[in-house]
Symmetry: C2
C-alpha cells in the first residue's frame, strides 16, 4: 500500500452501468458522435437533441442505424432533462452549457459538459475497446498527448485474440455455473480455483479457439475430474504459426548463423595464411 500522503491528485476510475438507463446528449457534432458511440456500447437508451443541420455525418449514421436513440430535431429545452439518468453536452454555447450543468446538479443528475472541466462530474479518458475488454487511460488532465501515446503502446502490448479469449472464458464460466450452480461456499471456491487454473495454464490465443464442443469436453474431462486438460485433449488444434517462432527467435537464429559463418571464415583464413 502506498503512503497515505501519496494518495491524492487522481480520479476514481469506474465502469459505469448504463443498461436501459436514459442518457441525454445535447449536441450532434464531432464530440457528440463520440459520446453517442460510448453510451451505445454501454447499452444506454439515448435521447439526442440537436438541430438536424448541425448533425455530424457519424452522428446521423448512428441515429439511422440504432433503435436505442430518440432524436429531437431542435435546440435544447429544459423539459429534456426530465427522466434523464445522465447528461452529456457538447455544444458551442457556453452559457446554455453552464445552465444545463446547474440544472443537472440541482436534480442530482451526473453531468459532463465538453471542454468545461468545472462543469463535469466525470471525464472521459483515452480508451481502448477489444470485444468485451475495455481499457481507459487517464493522465488526470496532465497531458492528453501522452495519454494517447500510452494508449497506443498499450494497444500494441495486448495479446493477440485477447477480446475473443475473454469472450470465450466468459461463456465457459456461464456453462460451469449452469453445471455446478449455487452462490458462494465450497463449490463457489472450487469453481473459482478451476477457472483460474484454466486461465493460467492455457495461452490467451488457445482460449480464443474454444468452441461449444471443446467447452463441453473441457467441463466433462476437466471440471468433473478436477484437472485442466490441454487444448489438444479437448479436440483443439493450436494455431502456432507466427507465435511459435516469434521475431526474436528468428532474429537470434540469424545472428548466431552470421556469427558462425564469420567465425568459420576467420579461422579458415588464419589457418590458410599459416599454411603458406
Amino acid at each position: 500500500m502506498a503512503d497515505a500522503k501519496e494518495l491524492s491528485g487522481g480520479s476514481l476510475l469506474l465502469a459505469w452501468q448504463l443498461k436501459d438507463k436514459r442518457v441525454l446528449i445535447v449536441g450532434g457534432g464531432d464530440v457528440a458522435s463520440g459520446r453517442l458511440e460510448s453510451v451505445l456500447v454501454a447499452d444506454a437508451l439515448v435521447t439526442l437533441v440537436s438541430p438536424s443541420e448541425r448533425l455530424h455525418p457519424l452522428t446521423r449514421r448512428l441515429i439511422d442505424a440504432s433503435d436505442r436513440i430518440t432524436y429531437r430535431d431542435r435546440l435544447f429545452e429544459l423539459s429534456d432533462l426530465d427522466g434523464a439518468d445522465m447528461v452529456l453536452t457538447a455544444i458551442d454555447d457556453v452559457e446554455t452549457s453552464r445552465a444545463i450543468c446547474a440544472e443537472c446538479r440541482a436534480r442530482r443528475i451526473p453531468v459532463n459538459v465538453a471542454d468545461i472541466p468545472p462543469s463535469c462530474d466525470f471525464y472521459f479518458g483515452s480508451q481502448i475497446r477489444n470485444g468485451p475488454l475495455q481499457v481507459m487511460i487517464s493522465t488526470n488532465g496532465r497531458s492528453p498527448k501522452l495519454a494517447n501515446i500510452v494508449r497506443r503502446r498499450i494497444e500494441k502490448s495486448l495479446p493477440e485474440h485477447v477480446g475473443e479469449a475473454i469472450e470465450k472464458v466468459g461463456e465457459l464460466r456461464s456453462k460451469l455455473r449452469e453445471r455446478a450452480p449455487g452462490v458462494g461456499g465450497e463449490l463457489g471456491k472450487r469453481r473459482m480455483r478451476w477457472m483460474v487454473d484454466v486461465c493460467t495454464s492455457w495461452e490467451m490465443e488457445d482460449l480464443a479457439l474454444l468452441d461449444d464442443d471443446m467447452m463441453r469436453k473441457l467441463l466433462d474431462d476437466g471440471w468433473e475430474n478436477n484437472r485442466v486438460p490441454k487444448l489438444e485433449d479437448v479436440g483443439g488444434r493450436p494455431r502456432r504459426d507466427a507465435a511459435s517462432s516469434p521475431l526474436q527467435v528468428r532474429a537470434a537464429v540469424l545472428t548466431s548463423l552470421v556469427g558462425f559463418l564469420a567465425g568459420a571464415a576467420c579461422a579458415a583464413a588464419v589457418m590458410l595464411t599459416r599454411r603458406r
Copy 2:
C-alpha cells in the same frame, strides 16, 4: 467507427471527480480498505462507518494517517447517508446492503454494493496507478482472472518513468499557459501544437528528467522561437545506461559471439583433420 450492432455489452468507463466530495464507506474490512484507498487517491472527504473490532489493519492505518477521514465506530445508521455524494458498502450483511442501496437510489446517490452486481451503479475494474497516470482494465464481468493477467501485461509494457514524464509535461504545460495565457483561439492552437511536438520528439525517459531550469530554457529557446530543442540543448544529460544497451542488444552480441566461436572451432577442426 464500429458497426452500430457491435455497440453493446460494455460499460461507460469514466474518471469520476471526487475532489472535496463526500463519500460514505460502510464497512472496515479488506474490501473496504481498497475502496478507501481508491477514493483517497481522488481527494474525497470520507466518512467510514464500522465497529472498530471489525477494522482491517490497513483500514485502521489509513484512518490514523489521513485527516480526510471521519471515522464512526458503530454500525450503519440511516442518517449516515445525509450529505453523501457517493456510497460504497462492503459488509457481509446482505439485507442491510440492499436496504442501503434502495435508500441511495431514492435519494439519487451513486452507490456500489460489493459482491451484489444488481445493487451497483458502477463497478471497479482492475487498476494501475503510476503517479498521475491511471489505467483501468474491465472485462465487463467476463473474467476477473484474465483482467488481472491483462493488467500485469500492461504494467510491464508501460515505458519506464512514464509517471514522472506525465508529471513533468503537466508542469511544462502550466508554465506555458502562464507565459502565453488565454483560452482558445490561435494562441491556444499554437500552444497545443508545440506541446504535441515536445511530447512526440522527446523520449518518455527524457521528459521525466525535466527540472525547473530545463523547462525555463525549453520555453525560452523553444517556445519563443517556435522549435523543439533537444534534451542536451537545455542542459540535460540523457540517462542512456541501461536504455542504450537494452537486454536485446546484449543478447544479440552474445549470440553472435557464441556463433563466431563455434564457427571458428568447426573450421579449425575441419582444417586440422584435413592437414593430417
